[in-house]
């Protein structure tokens, strides 16, 4: 199976690889997937408390090229969005942007899960109620 140009580009030049200080109150961390399934994504957001704006986002991913590209693209999209806007990111947007084939849709679902998990971690740390999301079929 051939990868799309965009997946290859993110794989070769991943954006925002790295680690934020998870002990900080305004950093939310999402760790999703499992080594046994061949994908683990860790996605982190740093939020400006005053504006609710995501000022930084970082990822590290163990997985195939599509998983790496999905998380790289997700961090790009997160930066500059408010937390409320970030919640709206849908996995199908990632699928469309990266031209992921059907067998790779789970990579985008995982990235969406990682975003939501990072947001909830941030909310929990800041005394907010965790959001409840409908489970997607993986």
């Amino acid at each position: 199976m051939a990868y799309s140009e965009k997946v290859i580009d993110h794989y070769n030049n991943p954006k925002n690889v790295g680690t934020l200080d998870k002990s900080k109150k305004n950093v939310g961390t999402g760790l999703v997937g499992a080594p046994e399934c061949g994908d683990v994504m860790r996605l982190q957001i740093e939020v400006d408390d005053a504006t609710g704006m995501i000022t930084d986002a970082k990822f590290k991913t163990f997985g195939c090229g599509s998983a790496i590209a999905s998380s790289s693209l997700a961090t790009e999209w997160l930066k500059g969005k408010t937390v409320d806007q970030a919640v709206q990111i849908d996995n199908m947007d990632l699928v469309e942007e990266l031209n992921l084939p059907p067998v790779k849709i789970h990579c985008s679902v995982l990235a969406e899960d990682a975003i939501k998990s990072a947001i909830n971690d941030y909310r929990k740390k800041n005394g907010l109620v965790e959001l409840v999301f409908e489970e997607k079929i993986h």
């Binding site: 199976m1 499992a34 080594p35 061949g38 994908d39 163990f62 997985g63 090229g65 993986h138």
Partner: protein, 405 residues
């Protein structure tokens, strides 16, 4: 000079040797006859070519030419060998012994047999990929008619103790079938010395054409018969009907002859290159060779690069290097290699594996390039891997409660 792209997937298929192609060409146009046409020169020359090729094939595996049944390949050979024995010897018993790391063509054939009223024992393999001979012997019962154990494994290259298996089979009066696809032409295979009664192999894994293979069926001590799985003109001593693929057979014969003459040199050269590759790559931290390293094909190594996912790893160099991964990220099940799991590898290590299969046309420059490309990509992806970061921080990844999906 470095030749790109580099093909290191020779367990999947091999390129055809130009000498094989050369031998085949006249049999497409000039000598196109049907080998079964007994009444004219077109048929005679085709038959003569088939007879000659049959000798070349037989000679490579220490068989008599009459014991070679041409098939379309090893999947057909596996089906014909196993189902053919099951049907032919049904009055004697219905039990077959095989092992969990066999090729799907054997495993799925065995499943079919179970659905047809047969009984199959699937032996586990040890951590090095080899079967336990004591377990094999203990699994034999009065209804056992066949032991089906592969010669060499397609994913990890380990060579089963074939002679010992053959001896156990003989001692108990059970037939021994071996899928020898990966071994024939690569290491010395001798059906008599190895005690094999039925053996499937194929041309395209040994620099011959695709679509042609053979089933060896022993004619004496004991005389073995298999029930045909296709009805028709009764070709190949009634065991495999269908007009013979003369150009394919000619090419298969030539490939066998070349293998017989060049095997020792090829193996010596390739094992040196394989060892160079393996030695260099295991210098990387947390890198492991899968399967027994002493009883192994000379041109294969299977390596797990922990904390890096195999398919993601391949992507780092698959423009220039063709390799296979034990990961199955593209399959709907997300299940990694069942062979590696049978060795007791965790799913994470199975997902992190690559199979390197060298071949007759692999050069040292290509191996040097591969060492660097794979090493660089592993390092790059580990920098990107959350699991590597946890490992480096001393977090026990097995203790984390992962959300399985």
């Amino acid at each position: 000079m470095l030749k790109l792209p580099i093909y290191l997937d020779n367990n999947a298929t091999t390129p055809m040797d130009p000498r094989v192609l050369e031998a085949m060409i006249p049999f497409f146009t000039e000598h196109f006859g049907n080998a079964a046409s007994r009444n004219h020169p077109f048929g005679w020359e085709a038959e003569e070519a088939v007879d000659y090729a049959r000798e070349q094939v037989a000679k490579l595996v220490g068989a008599d030419p009459k014991e070679i049944i041409f098939t379309s390949g090893a999947t057909e050979g596996d089906n014909l060998g196993i189902k053919g024995v099951f049907e032919m010897y049904s009055s004697k018993g219905n039990h077959i012994i095989t092992c969990t790391t066999e090729h799907k063509a054997v495993l799925d054939t065995c499943k079919h047999i179970e659905r047809s009223g047969g009984e199959v024992t699937y032996l586990e393999v040890k951590a090095d990929g080899l079967i336990d001979l004591k377990e094999l012997e203990a699994a034999i019962k009065p209804t056992t008619i066949l032991i089906a154990i592969m010669y060499a494994n397609n994913e990890i290259g380990v060579i089963q103790p074939v002679k010992e298996i053959g001896a156990i089979a003989k001692k108990h009066g059970v037939l021994f079938f071996s899928d020898a696809v990966q071994a024939v032409g690569k290491v010395p295979v001798d059906v008599t010395k190895d005690g094999i009664d039925i053996m499937a192999f194929t041309a395209h894994k040994m620099y011959g054409p695709k679509g042609i293979g053979a089933l060896y069926v022993r004619r004496k001590n004991p005389r073995v018969k298999v029930t045909a799985q296709m009805d028709g003109g009764g070709h190949e001593r009634g065991m495999r009907s269908g007009t013979l693929n003369v150009p394919g057979i000619v090419g298969f014969g030539k490939a066998c002859e070349l293998a017989r003459l060049e095997m020792a040199d090829d193996a010596a050269r390739l094992s040196k290159l394989r060892d160079k590759l393996e030695t260099a790559l295991v210098q990387l931290e947390e890198t492991y060779v899968n399967g027994n390293r002493d009883h192994r094909l000379p041109h294969v190594t299977n390596i797990s690069f922990k904390y890096v996912e195999g398919e993601g790893l391949l992507m780092g160099f698959n423009k220039h290097i063709a390799l296979s991964s034990g990961s199955a990220c593209t399959s709907a099940s997300l299940e990694p290699s069942y062979v590696l799991k049978a060795l007791g590898l965790g799913d994470d290590l199975a997902h992190s594996s690559l199979r390197f299969g060298l071949g007759r046309f692999t050069t040292e420059e290509q191996i040097d390039y591969t060492i660097k490309a794979v090493g660089d990509t592993v390092i790059k992806l580990r920098e990107m891997s959350p699991l590597w970061e946890m490992f480096k921080e001393g977090v026990d990844i097995d203790k984390i409660e992962w959300a399985h999906h």
